[in-house]
Subunit: 590 residues, 2 copies
């Protein structure tokens, strides 16, 4: 069975030596002192390794089942969910007035990565609840907040997000689910929603569905969509659970992975719903949580890569196969361990340098969200909006690729289900699809975010990289700054190509959008690695006792710069080839 | 349920317009006239679409089961296998004296691609039989050939290859299975073999296992390994099936994919075996078939990509989602089909340009095998030996990536098992692992094949590309020849780097081996596309009636050159960064 050890030391390094979070002037960040974060991360790591990891394979193999309308989660999930509630892990970054602990998103992200790495399917139950609660927090009336939030913050009640219908996912304007207004101000919601993660289950007393639907007579298309709260069980006046509402599970989907999560077809048949936020402004309400939710999915890509990588390392150290061509390393054994072989190293270094760079990028993104929300920093808000599709798309694409690399280290043993490596691949795959498929992320980035506010945010990003590089002109940083400069130039050239050609024909920009997202991701990881290299050099200069840790950071940073960043040139070449070749064929010529 | 239509027109184009096979002076190739190959491909296509495709999902969902020592294949497999035998498809390229049709490997490869695309798990039963029969053909005594081949060519009896043991796969020198010589010249084989594809099943009267084992007292390690024929049922003097031999199925592995194939743990307990080929020369006997077997696995990568791509195209044409930003394309519908969107095109063009280029490369490889075997052409033999790891590694890596792209076109519908897109991904994954994991292919390429015969074959490859480019210096070929030249220069620079640095430290070559394999693959596909572009231009100049077909080839070739070949620069940069960064960390620093 695969194991997982929370990378607490790497996380602490990012929090305190790279981002220097406790020194930042963001409300609440003063609490993030090293002793405190260490205690939280250590405890969370114990839960991840001890409670969630052992259930990961169980969830995959047993899956969820629907019997007489009731959804049963895999054995052990219910008890583990109780432990999560009791430990207070469900409301870490939710407001204290609703029972949360008001911690920054930054710390919540670190903890979330651990839980996700240990058991993605399980962690989604509380992740979806977090998302739904955030929507109510942002758009609910005081009464709605008082009714739902305390129960949702504690996960006594869980939440879901209902967007997709059989004929539409990305294009929600085609939605058919209807909400008929009733005399008492409520609505009767009818329709079918599919792919509803954590749609129903046996771990909570109630399920609070957030459902997008159209009020008859409203505007056509996406502008006529409203958001509704539809509880599985109606509530009594005192807020306690009463009769069953008109919502039922049609089916549990058979999926490639995340079997432990009940992905449901939900049927709404005149279910009582309550408008959340403004009428016909449902998409806006949904989008409020988008940056955070998509950062959370990007985090899943990294988390699965980390878990898979850890197991690949264990196997590479244990499995004896072949001899080191430069000289026997394990003379007493029948062969040397896999890890002596350069191509295994290449694979492990690709994984390690992605994971630690990606975590730097992710934590920076979480910090920007805190800056935007807690300090009302508009520039931080603009920057994280710009980078959100990159965080989601790049981290999940690369994260998936890394689980494939990790599985490959196991050879045939990776392909059989016994060692759990296949599960990492199958689970990681979903993150490229849900919460906006990665092609839609690329479209959002190039079609919307680049030009937002007159292109201000992307200019700010370039300026940030440029001024960072200027400030790091010493010889010791050359290995990191020069490649970063080159990569950043590639990104600027790509932006310039879009500006010059996209006006004539938007397809010139859109045909390069996916490559642009990856180019952007590499620049962000290059930047994240430069920062980590800087922090490592500083620590070594200050006589850090654990020199190996910092030297390892430097070696890994160098690897990323030399062996991963050159991808930017390829992406630029693809972008600059324009749309004509992409669009050359008639649809029936494929 | 996914569908599959055999790409007969593309195959005919390659056979007759690009390779001009029927004009080549290779024994048996005169039979490959367009009418004849068209008839074979059409019939094979019918079997693939009509018989094998409908069973693909069944095989995935039902899998194989072991009951009281008997392996049962999925419903319908047995009947389909009978049809394959009756149609004579099992011995297409086997000698006539044993009941085959003596067709070239080239035609067998085309037919094999269809069957594999339609149902990889099913087709492996006859694929493994083909491999085992080829080994007996090459190394068996006349009596062994007479005893086994007629039954194996007809697939009345099937075959297996038994190499891997629990503790060793790549490093077979660690093997523990023993073969004790008996007075009658036979051996008693004992040990456990794992991951045995088509290890046992209910579709044939007997299973002929080829088993690698060590004869006690022989040389240490890989040099003491011999190959044995171990039938499931012993044979009577007249060759009919008699009592059960000492071989049994320990388990059927639970795998990520190819569920329809029974991957077995095989236990040998003093099973009667017969030496095949020379004592202690078992690896050589196995390796004789290596080029062909590995080409067959590379073909699987392409085949799964083709099947997945076809279904992605169908979905992209049908699914209405969003509007073309350059103008509505489906004004009568609620939205435009996915295929109008540039990023969907980017994905489909990546797939299409890989598939058709890879098929050109694959067919060329098959032709070289025929040249080597049928004409005794040493240069062809050297060239195909050099390119075999590229065919296997590059085509399966890229083929897998393409199934992921195809799955992504379906969004959430690709992640649920209902549409079969997940199966393409899960099935394609194995081809990167078995028949030598792709890291081992890269090692074989750089550590063995590059320097073989004094580097003669790689020099011949460079010369081939160079002289081809020289002969195509007209303007009309510029879009294809210039990128091919650049890519080829990158490959030469990488080879030069290995030569200059690998002598000092072999790790400088090995650390770049994987990138070299991919760089090499891109050059081969670039060459394959240049040839196809040339043939298309010629056809158009000669007033071909189906101009669209040839113009589509040219547009797809242009796409590959502009959007796929630039990967070579990235691979070269990775290679030239050397081994130091790859090997920088201590094993315990990971």
């Amino acid at each position: 069975m695969p194991s997982y050890t929370a990378p607490t030391k790497d996380m602490a390094f990012l929090l305190h030596e790279v981002l220097k979070a406790d020194k930042l002037n963001i409300p609440g960040y003063d609490e993030l002192e090293p002793d405190f974060t260490a205690a939280v991360l250590e405890e969370a790591g114990k839960v991840a390794s001890g409670v969630l990891t052992p259930l990961n394979v169980v969830g995959d193999q047993e899956g969820c089942r629907l019997e007489n309308g009731v959804v049963y989660t895999p054995p052990g999930f219910k008890e583990a969910f109780e432990q999560m509630k009791e430990g207070g892990w469900t409301g870490l970054d939710m407001p204290e007035e609703f029972g949360g602990q008001n911690m920054p998103v930054l710390l919540g992200t670190a903890v979330g990565e651990m839980f996700s790495a240990a058991n993605q399917a399980f962690t989604m139950y509380q992740g979806l609840t977090h998302g739904a609660a955030s929507a109510i927090l942002a758009h609910g009336t005081d009464e709605q907040k008082a009714t739902y939030l305390p129960k949702m913050v504690s996960c006594e009640w869980t939440g879901t997000m209902n967007l997709t219908e059989p004929h539409c996912g990305t294009d929600l304007g085609l939605m058919r689910t209807k909400a008929e207004p009733q005399d008492d101000g409520s609505y009767k919601v009818s329709g079918q929603k599919i792919f509803i993660s954590a749609g129903d289950h046996d771990m909570s007393e109630n399920v609070i569905h957030l459902v997008l639907a159209k009020i008859p007579g409203g505007p056509e298309g996406i502008k006529g969509v409203s958001l509704f709260i539809v509880p599985k069980f109606n509530l009594n006046e005192d807020g306690s659970v009463s009769s069953r509402n008109g919502v039922s599970v049609g089916n549990i989907e058979q999926k490639m992975g995340i079997h432990g999560n009940s992905t449901c077809v939900m049927n709404y048949d005149e279910a009582t719903g309550y408008l959340l936020g403004d009428m016909h402004k449902g998409m806006r309400a949904m989008f409020t949580m988008m940056n955070e939710a998509r950062l959370g999915v990007g985090m899943q890509g990294l988390a699965q890569a980390e878990a898979a990588y850890q197991n690949a390392v264990i196997y590479a150290r244990d499995r004896l196969q072949g001899r080191d061509v430069t000289g026997v390393k394990n003379p007493d054994g029948p062969a040397d361990p896999l890890i002596v072989h350069p191509d295994i190293r290449r694979s492990l270094m690709d994984q390690k340098s992605f994971i630690e760079g990606a975590r730097g990028f992710l934590f920076w993104g979480a910090l920007l969200i805190d800056q935007a929300h807690r300090s009302g920093d508009k520039e931080a808000d603009g920057l994280i909006s710009l980078m959100t599709p990159v965080l989601k798309g790049f981290l999940t694409d690369q994260g998936f690729d890394m689980t494939v690399l990790a599985q490959q280290v196991y050879g045939g043993h990776g392909y059989i289900e016994e060692h759990g490596m296949s599960q990492f691949v199958r689970d990681a795959r979903i993150a490229q699809i849900y919460e906006g498929a990665n092609g839609v992320q690329a479209l959002d980035l190039v079609g919307r975010k680049l030009a937002a506010d007159g292109g201000k945010h992307v200019m700010a990003f370039f300026e940030l990289i440029k001024s960072y590089c200027k400030g790091q002109d010493g010889d010791e940083m050359k290995d990191f700054i020069e490649p970063l400069k080159t990569a950043s130039k590639h990104l600027q050239a790509a932006s310039m190509f879009f500006m010059q050609n996209g006006m004539k024909n938007p397809n010139h920009a859109l045909a390069g959008s996916y490559d642009f997202m990856h180019l952007f991701g590499h620049v962000c990881l290059g930047y994240a690695w430069a920062q980590q290299a800087r922090a490592a050099l500083d620590a070594l200069a200050n006589g850090a006792t654990d020199a190996t840790f910092y030297e390892t950071k430097l070696a890994t940073a160098r690897y990323y710069m030399a062996r991963r960043l050159p991808a930017t040139g390829m992406h630029l070449a693809r972008i600059e080839s324009g749309a004509d070749m992409v669009m050359a064929l008639d649809a029936d010529a494929f």
